[in-house]
């Protein structure tokens, strides 16, 4: 591109920015400070997506009334939770308070959203009065499709066979069982068919548990039973790490879709084999959080959205973000993505409530770090730009990529990333 083109672009970009600046001014005049708020926004779910959305809605448009509904006392991070399983971190290290959001004026309601009335535009709560909204942001994460594993489709079985795929009590419980596992015992991980939350997460889990076994239970093994035909993320990097570090410890079996489970015998049933292990970790097949059911218009499981605004393609005025959405091509279900969805959605919600044009050109990014030991890390990165022809966010060709090899510098960056995104979402 020539310099003249660049200058022309910059001038027009400046013009655009000035026009937008004027737009903000008009919006401010139409709703002077002191008059009614330009809108009430309810955010359901205080994970990476919902907490970020609540914060940025208030940060960018303080006049909004923003209510965040969260049923858990604290934020417990799924990223880094595999290090808790491996005994490298403690649950306290990945547990954060919601107090910081009050600084922005976010009203925190500690309750559970049990239904969304899209006609009345209100969220019904388990305990409190219904919350009315002008715009709704739904960030419920995932729920599990235990009906696809009949033997686990009851509360007792689910207490016995842990998923630890929502960080918290299950993470602590699975760590305890790993500690109790006798040396020589097999730890089996069942991975559902994609799409599921955190594509590289199960392979990270296998790696760091293998690291723990290598140090403390050298006769134990990790058996990966993958419902997918191959490793779904960072395949070559994981295979290299396993070959170099965990030969004879990690065994990988593809095309292993868990069909049923015998809780008494601790046996997983697959199409061609039954597998017994001393400790089974079943990561079940997933769907959008149940509260998002009215918007789950993609395969009955995931919520379709317009990627310029994350507004539901099923119900106007409702925005869905995070793991619950039907993702765009090449977009993982990750905390990083949820955090980025939240900002595009927040901007779109503000625009809709203050009479501004939506941002026509969202660009979002993702970096997923995975530990392959207590300190060495591999990453995959991608940049996603809105494509007006395809009407979706598409990965930018020639951008993004992988680590060359697992390394400890990225181990430091992975922990620094966690500190930054936690702070960005919650403080």
């Amino acid at each position: 591109m020539s310099t003249i083109d660049r200058r022309g672009f910059i001038r027009s970009a400046g013009g655009l920015a000035l026009a937008l600046g004027a737009g903000v001014g008009v919006g401010a005049c139409a709703t002077p400070v002191g008059r009614a708020a330009p809108g009430r926004v309810v955010v359901i779910g205080g994970g990476f997506g919902g907490a970020t959305a609540a914060k940025y809605l208030k940060k960018w448009e303080p006049r909004l009334e923003v209510t965040l509904v969260e049923r858990n006392q604290n934020f417990v991070s799924c990223p880094i939770s595999n290090l808790v399983l491996a005994g490298v971190k403690r649950i306290e290290d990945i547990t954060l308070a919601y107090d910081g959001l009050a600084r922005y004026g976010v009203r925190l309601v500690r309750d559970e959203a049990v239904a969304i009335d899209v006609d009345k535009r209100e969220v019904r709560l388990a305990k409190g009065d219904p919350l009315p909204w002008d715009r709704l942001v739904v960030a419920p994460g995932i729920d599990f499709l235990y009906e696809q594993i009949p033997g686990l489709n009851n509360a007792d079985a689910r207490q016995q066979v842990l998923h630890a795929w929502k960080a918290g009590a299950q993470t602590v419980a699975l760590r305890k069982r790993l500690e109790e596992l006798p040396d020589g015992g097999v730890f089996a991980i069942s991975i559902p068919k994609a799409p599921y939350r955190c594509p590289p997460g199960p392979y990270e889990r296998a790696s760091v548990v293998a690291h723990y076994f290598k140090q403390h239970k050298p006769r134990s093994k990790v058996l990966i039973l993958d419902g997918n035909p191959e490793i779904t993320s960072k395949k070559a990097l994981f295979l290299q790490a396993w070959e170099e570090r965990y030969k004879g410890i990690i065994e990988y079996r593809p095309d292993s879709v868990l069909q049923d489970f015998d809780v008494r015998a601790n046996v997983g049933k697959f199409e061609f084999e039954s597998v017994r292990a001393e400790l089974f970790n079943v990561i079940p097949p997933q769907r959008s959080g149940l509260i998002a059911s009215p918007f789950a218009n993609v395969g009955g499981r995931w919520a379709g959205v317009d990627f310029r605004s994350f507004e539901s393609t099923a119900v106007p005025g409702v925005h869905l973000i995070g793991d619950a959405i039907a993702t765009a091509p090449g977009m993982p279900k990750s905390g990083f993505m949820a955090n980025n969805h939240a900002k595009v959605a927040a901007d779109a919600v503000i625009a809709s409530l203050t009479g501004l044009e939506p941002n026509p050109t969202p660009i979002i990014a993702n970096t997923c770090y995975s530990f392959v030991s207590d300190r060495d890390v591999v990453h995959v990165a991608s940049i996603h730009k809105f494509d007006t022809q395809e009407n979706t966010l598409l990965p930018v060709k020639g951008a993004g990529g992988l680590s060359a090899v697992a390394n400890d510098l990225e181990g430091k960056y992975a922990l620094a990333w966690a500190r930054n995104i936690w702070a960005d979402a919650l403080t």
């Binding site: 940025y56 941002n359 620094a416 990333w417």
Partner: protein
């Protein structure tokens, strides 16, 4: 990277830097505010980083733009920034650099 390519890339970076930074609208640049928010996942809200990561807020726009262009052209080694920088046009990187430069330092 071959030395000739490297030199070319450095030249390209220098040429890009010769562009005027006369546009003062960065703080109100709403699309860029949302682009920049993507960076916050590693570099902190508005570029105010937590320990262990580089802060971007209030740094010189030319300096930031030079860094981004050097990452993009593979002149400056990186673990991940060379992969991110390639996702943006030079103009987008320039607007991002200006936006972060306009944020107050802490």
């Amino acid at each position: 990277m071959p030395i000739a390519t490297r030199a070319l890339a450095a030249l390209a970076a220098a040429a890009a830097l010769a562009l005027p930074f006369s546009v003062q609208a960065a703080p109100d640049d709403r699309p860029v505010r949302v682009w920049a928010a993507a960076c916050a996942a590693c570099h902190g809200t508005d570029g105010h980083a937590q320990a262990g990561m580089t802060s971007l807020a209030g740094r010189n726009a030319d300096e930031l733009y030079t860094l981004l262009i050097e990452f993009k052209r593979d002149v400056r080694p990186a673990t991940v920034m060379h992969q991110h920088a390639k996702g943006y046009t030079d103009e987008e990187l320039q607007r991002l650099a200006q936006w972060f430069a306009a944020q107050a330092k802490r």
